[in-house]
């Protein structure tokens, strides 16, 4: 009897300990999630309030959905124009990075030629050097090429900045694709380029998606180069526009919250819908590097 009694008791103790640990884990995780999430939620809620309501009712829901702040942010502060600029710059740099990196990475992965290793190392070694370090010579290059205050002023350095990691990730992926596939395509009469475009690239979709997300988020959020190369307000990207908006209207919190919510909500919606791809896209550089 005794011999039978002990095991259930002990396992009950183990179960209780586990439940306690689970409860503590949930508590800690929830506190962290609130600290991360609440400021964003509160900012969106406040964007619908008047300044008076923000003081009198800082915690609750807005009494009614007031769009005056948004009207101001959209019409006076040109937030949609900044978003369009950001979209153009980010999309163009994604396209350029993906195309240039895919061709280069495929050559590094499959062709045998004398400077394969050294050229690849040139890209790989500069993975570590932060872009801001060479801001002054970059400024000289940009002004000599008359790129200041154009979209290219940002598209080209963003592309150059994204190439090392993109080539690194794509090369590893191309190397993992069995040779037989491109050989078969060659036997069927494809040229090297055709077999790359029609057979290899479609297989590499996951790696291309990783590079796309990584490059898009980095370009969309970039601030330092935009601050230095863009001065015309009609050419400003979103981070730069938000910063100058805050600089001019720092007292008008309602306007600022509306502007920030306009900038942030689309990004967060896309992120939540595709969180798996986003998280792997943004961390794969660190995990493979």
């Amino acid at each position: 009897m005794l011999a039978y009694r002990t095991p259930p008791n002990r396992s009950l103790g183990v179960k209780a300990a586990r439940r306690l640990a689970d409860g503590l884990s949930y508590l800690v995780l929830t506190v962290c999630a609130v600290v991360v999430g609440y400021p964003v939620v509160a900012m969106v809620l406040n964007s619908f309030k008047t300044t008076f309501e923000m003081y009198s009712n800082p915690w609750g829901l807005p009494a009614h959905l007031g769009w005056t702040n948004y009207q101001y942010a959209w019409n006076e502060a040109q937030i949609p124009a900044f978003m369009l600029n950001s979209l153009i710059v980010s999309a163009a740099s994604v396209v350029m990075t993906v195309v240039l990196a895919a061709f280069a990475a495929y050559a590094f992965a499959t062709f045998e030629f004398r400077f394969n290793r050294p050229l690849f190392l040139v890209f790989a070694l500069l993975l570590i050097v932060p872009v801001p370090i060479s801001i002054i010579p970059l400024y000289v290059v940009e002004s000599r090429l008359h790129l200041m205050d154009t979209y290219w002023a940002l598209i080209l350095p963003y592309t150059a900045g994204g190439l090392p990691l993109s080539i690194f990730i794509l090369r590893a992926y191309f190397q993992s694709i069995p040779h037989e596939l491109s050989d078969a395509a060659r036997i069927d009469g494809c040229t090297q380029t055709q077999s790359f475009l029609r057979v290899i690239l479609p297989i590499a979709t996951p790696a291309l998606a990783t590079v796309t997300i990584f490059q898009f988020i980095n370009s969309w959020n970039e601030f330092f180069l935009a601050l230095i190369f863009i001065h015309k307000s009609s050419m400003m990207t979103l981070p730069l526009g938000l910063q100058s908006f805050f600089y001019n209207y720092s007292v008008q919190w309602g306007y600022l919250f509306a502007a920030l919510s306009t900038a942030l909500v689309p990004v967060i919606v896309v992120y939540v819908l595709m969180q798996r791809q986003f998280i792997s896209g943004l961390t794969s550089g660190a995990l493979k590097g």
């Binding site: 900012m43 890209f123 500069l126 060479s134 400024y139 330092f224 969180q275 660190a286």
Partner: protein, 300 residues
């Protein structure tokens, strides 16, 4: 065998060279916008140049001036404090939360999605949100302090020289710990379960197996995390520029803000380029030392 020789002989010359054709476009953009500036920066460092008049050769003057510039070394000291505090803060928080998430709780994905969210946001947006949180009259932080009866602790967080740098450090940790957490999570999931089982059979309790299995096996991942976070801390600009612009009274002046001010407000291009190069050398040295330290630890 014979057929391959024939085809390679028949291949026209441009086709045999074609790897370079595939690489050339990437190399061109990379060369003009990364390699050229990197080499040119060193050259500019040897000139006195205000961006308008012809540059004048000054030899090593700019570099000797960097070593005498107290403002620059003070800003580097801020980077050092910032680096140590953010690296420790991010990694401790990240390891703990990754271990909790790795216990296969329900809702794991929801927590991971929320905690990673700030990584997707730009530093400008994050900085502006926290400008509001730290606002004296109106900010979330002082309001919360008032609510829980700590009204005496209210501060003008960004306007006070003794709190401003710490306030920025908190924001940086807030933005990035989710990133390091996901990397730790990947590291944890790569540890085979058999190790824990055999440790349990040998009588190890959970704390012992964390100390002697989990932590040592997380060292490679830790090295990546430390290097990334350190490089970030030494080149931090956006957050500081948006929130304090180096103030109050230079209390949050960091190296990149210092370099930016010298270059684009005082037009000291040669001097700023020299400072950038000193910063690059310092970052490389720090990274190498960290790699050495962490690599030695691996042979436990």
């Amino acid at each position: 065998m014979a057929s391959t020789t024939i085809t390679s002989k028949q291949t026209p010359r441009w086709r045999r060279n074609n790897p370079y054709v595939w690489i050339a476009p990437a190399l061109l953009v990379f060369g003009v916008f990364t390699l050229l500036p990197l080499a040119g920066g060193l050259a500019i460092g040897f000139f006195s140049w205000n961006g308008f008049q012809a540059p004048q050769w000054v030899g090593l003057d700019n570099f000797t001036r960097v070593f005498q510039d107290q403002g620059f070394w003070q800003s580097l000291e801020h980077n050092l404090i910032y680096g140590v505090a953010t690296v420790v803060g991010k990694l401790v928080l990240a390891v703990c939360l990754a271990v909790l998430l790795n216990r296969s709780l329900r809702g794991q994905t929801v927590f991971r999605t929320i905690l990673f969210m700030p990584v997707v946001m730009s530093f400008v947006v994050v900085g502006l949100i926290w400008n509001w949180i730290y606002n004296y009259n109106f900010g979330l932080l002082n309001t919360v302090l008032g609510l829980v009866g700590l009204g005496a602790w209210k501060q003008d967080w960004l306007g006070n020289t003794s709190f401003a740098l710490g306030a920025l450090i908190v924001v940086d940790i807030w933005k990035w710990f989710g990133f390091h957490m996901v990397i730790y999570l990947a590291g944890l999931q790569s540890i085979p379960n058999e190790l824990y089982e055999s440790a349990r059979i040998d009588g190890a309790n959970s704390r012992q197996s964390f100390r002697h299995i989990t932590l040592p096996l997380l060292l490679p991942v830790t090295m990546i995390n430390v290097l990334l976070a350190t490089a970030g801390a030494f080149t931090v600009f956006d957050l500081v520029y948006v929130m304090t612009d180096g103030g109050p009274v230079k209390a949050t002046d960091v190296a990149m803000v210092h370099i930016y001010t010298e270059a684009f407000q005082f037009n000291q291009f040669g001097y700023a380029a020299a400072m950038s190069y000193v910063l690059l050398v310092l970052i490389s040295v720090v990274s190498l030392v960290l790699m050495r330290l962490l690599r030695q630890e691996r042979y436990f």
